[in-house]
């Protein structure tokens, strides 16, 4: 229970940190804190393989990518975020998020799911267990994820190709504005 409390607080701090940090770099670091906290939760929840995957994929790959982009994009730029310009955005967002999150939390806490009291099955959540599933009946899901990653690779190629034609949409937009 105590461990849960501490971890929860860490996770929440990480989360809140993401959205309040002024610098994107700090946000990324806070997100790593959050992710790692979640990874620990996974271990608690007997999902060892997932915890590893979480750390490797998220903290290892994704966040590195994020940091990389952050440095790429913020270099030489004004990284001070301007104040809120959309009227009522923050307060509405806050109220809505509290309503939604609060509601979900209350529901989630007050109505726990049915619990199967028997001991855990063998290999539950570990590498073998996961492998049995993913390379067994659920292989097709894995294949789909692979296809998505492939798509992402293609996409990155597409998106960062030098433009072949001079881009005219900007001109059109100006025309539309006038």
């Amino acid at each position: 229970m105590i461990a849960f409390g501490i971890l929860a607080i860490v996770a929440l701090i990480g989360g809140i940190g993401v959205i309040v940090a002024r610098q994107p770099v700090h946000s990324a670091l806070f997100l790593i804190v959050n992710i790692v906290a979640l990874a620990i939760f996974y271990i608690i929840l007997s999902a060892e393989f997932l915890a590893a995957a979480q750390v490797i994929v998220y903290a290892g790959a994704i966040m590195v990518l994020f940091l990389f982009v952050v440095t790429l994009l913020t270099a030489g730029k004004d990284d001070e975020e301007a104040g809120e310009e959309l009227s009522g955005q923050r307060i509405t967002a806050g109220v809505l998020a509290i309503l939604a999150g609060g509601g979900l939390a209350v529901v989630g806490v007050l109505y726990p799911s049915q619990r199967i009291q028997l001991g855990l099955p063998q290999n539950f959540g570990n590498l073998r267990g996961m492998g049995d599933v993913l390379w067994g009946p659920d292989f097709v899901y894995l294949a789909a994820v692979a296809l998505m990653l492939l798509t992402a690779a293609v996409g990155i190629m597409v998106l960062n190709r030098p433009p072949r034609k001079k881009a005219d949409p900007e001109a059109r937009l100006k025309e539309r504005e006038s």
Binding site: V107, S113, D138, Y141, V154, V158, L159, D168, P169
Partner: protein, 471 residues
């Protein structure tokens, strides 16, 4: 029954073949990718047809992860049509890159998966397979408006996927299963199920473009390259509607009173707001985007009425909507030429530049508006029937009120097209690229055909959406 998934397998093969061809091919031979993709689509269509005509009972595969039945096969057919249409419309325009066919096929795979998904994982996979390539395609043209479109789509897509996932998680928690058909309202933990259902529905109707989750639609449609917009306008809606129908009809068939009315309200709101906003548009892509929103509302009527007619009407309506929207976008592509958008002014005097184009535009717009002798009317008629069978006159009234408002929006371009040019507009005759012309002619013929003699297609959808537990 390993044959059941052959349409999908064909597409997967097509993806790899296209990818390989493009990787090895030189710049001049990128056309090969298009041809290969087209071949895959046609092959898949043939397999789908064969499958549909030989199948009697639904099959469940991957531990009930997917259900292949007549319904999913019709969805396959519809999305294949969308893909072929988009591919041909973008055929002559290499600005969008050689990778267009690959991404198109991946998204197609997502749509097909959505058509047959029967558990949460497949649902999510389908949604993401569908979305990821479209994010890329939307942004693929330029960092400007196209990039903006992609970015907006991406951020909101990620946001809504988060909501969807959380909803699915809660549903999982409330029932202990991920398979739609095993969801049992009697044993579910109710508040958990309710919250999960709400979030899941949000995630799904976001893709469909239902008010108030529709805001991305016009921006993304306007900013995206024309063939991509076409594809999104038709294919995405088919996929989203198919999964929403299957999710609600298979998973929550016994608890209609939980979700039915809410879907109904959303439908009415969407039909009216979508058409109303279409009225104010000057850019045709935007106009069609709002029309797409409104039509999503019509589609939602088929779901909200929750009966067999509704499911059938939904399939039928998706087809007629798709034909009309494909035709409209084909025309837009022709008119736009080198540019990437068409405003109302660009249409002025179209009838003098290209009478046939004006005639086809008329047919497409009238079908969207639901005027008889076009497919759109029969579709709306079927939906109305479903709504009234369901004893929901409110839905019916909403449908006709929306249609009324929408009509004014659809005839405005027509008035422009038939007006005398004032002199400042371009009077050059319009070139008809052959691939696009094929799409246009087929779609117009289909629209008229479905309006004049809808019998066979009604027969097909009636046999495809025959869920025995519905009225």
């Amino acid at each position: 029954m390993a044959f059941a998934l052959w349409p999908e397998y064909t597409i997967v093969l097509g993806i790899f073949a296209t990818m390989l061809a493009i990787m090895i091919g030189s710049r001049e031979r990128t056309i090969v990718g298009y041809w290969l993709a087209l071949a895959a689509l046609v092959a898949s269509a043939i397999v789908t047809t064969v499958d549909w005509s030989s199948r009697v009972l639904p099959v469940s595969l991957f531990h009930q992860g997917v259900t292949v039945d007549a319904f999913s096969l019709v969805v396959d057919g519809l999305v294949l049509l969308a893909a072929v249409g988009a591919l041909l419309i973008g055929w002559n325009d290499r600005r969008y890159g050689t990778d267009f066919p690959i991404l198109l096929l991946v998204a197609l795979l997502g749509m097909m998966v959505l058509g047959m998904a029967n558990n949460f994982i497949v649902l999510f996979l389908g949604i993401e397979l569908l979305s990821l390539p479209l994010y890329i395609l939307a942004a693929s043209h330029s960092p400007g408006v196209s990039g903006e479109a992609g970015l907006k789509y991406l951020l909101l897509g990620a946001f809504s996927s988060g909501i969807l996932l959380f909803g699915l998680a809660l549903l999982y928690g409330s029932s202990g299963t991920m398979v739609f058909t095993q969801l049992d309202p009697a044993t579910m933990i109710l508040p958990l199920a309710g919250a999960g259902l709400a979030l899941t529905v949000v995630g799904l109707v976001f893709k469909l473009g239902i008010v108030p989750f529709h805001m991305w639609v016009p921006d993304v449609y306007e900013g995206s390259p024309m063939p991509v917009t076409t594809y999104m306008a038709f294919g995405t809606k088919v996929g989203a509607a198919a999964i929403l129908l299957r999710f609600l009809f298979f998973g929550f068939s016994l608890s209609v009173d939980w979700w039915g009315p809410a879907i109904g309200y959303l439908a009415v709101l969407t039909m009216i707001v979508g058409n109303l906003l279409a009225l104010a548009q000057k850019d045709l892509k935007r106009l069609l985007a709002y029309s797409g929103i409104a039509n999503a509302g019509y589609v939602l009527v088929g779901i909200a009425s929750h009966n067999m007619s509704g499911a059938r009407a939904l399939l039928f309506y998706l087809l007629v909507y798709g034909l009309a929207i494909l035709a409209a976008f084909a025309i837009l592509t022709f008119v736009a030429g080198e540019r990437d958008s068409v405003s109302l002014n660009d249409l002025t005097g179209l009838v003098y530049r290209s009478p046939w184009l004006a005639a086809f535009l008329t047919i497409a717009m009238l079908s969207l508006a639901g005027i008889p002798l076009t497919g759109g009317f029969v579709g709306k008629f079927y939906l109305l029937q479903a709504a009234i069978y369901a004893g929901q006159p409110g839905l019916a009234i909403g449908l006709v009120v929306g249609a009324m408002v929408g009509l004014a929006a659809y005839v405005r371009p027509l008035q422009r097209a038939f007006a005398k040019p004032s002199g400042s507009e371009s009077i050059e005759p319009i070139r008809w690229p052959i691939a696009g012309a094929i799409v246009l002619i087929v779609c117009v013929a289909g629209t008229i055909g479905l309006g004049v003699y809808p019998g066979p297609v009604v027969h097909i959808v009636n046999h495809s959406a025959a869920f025995y537990w519905l009225k």
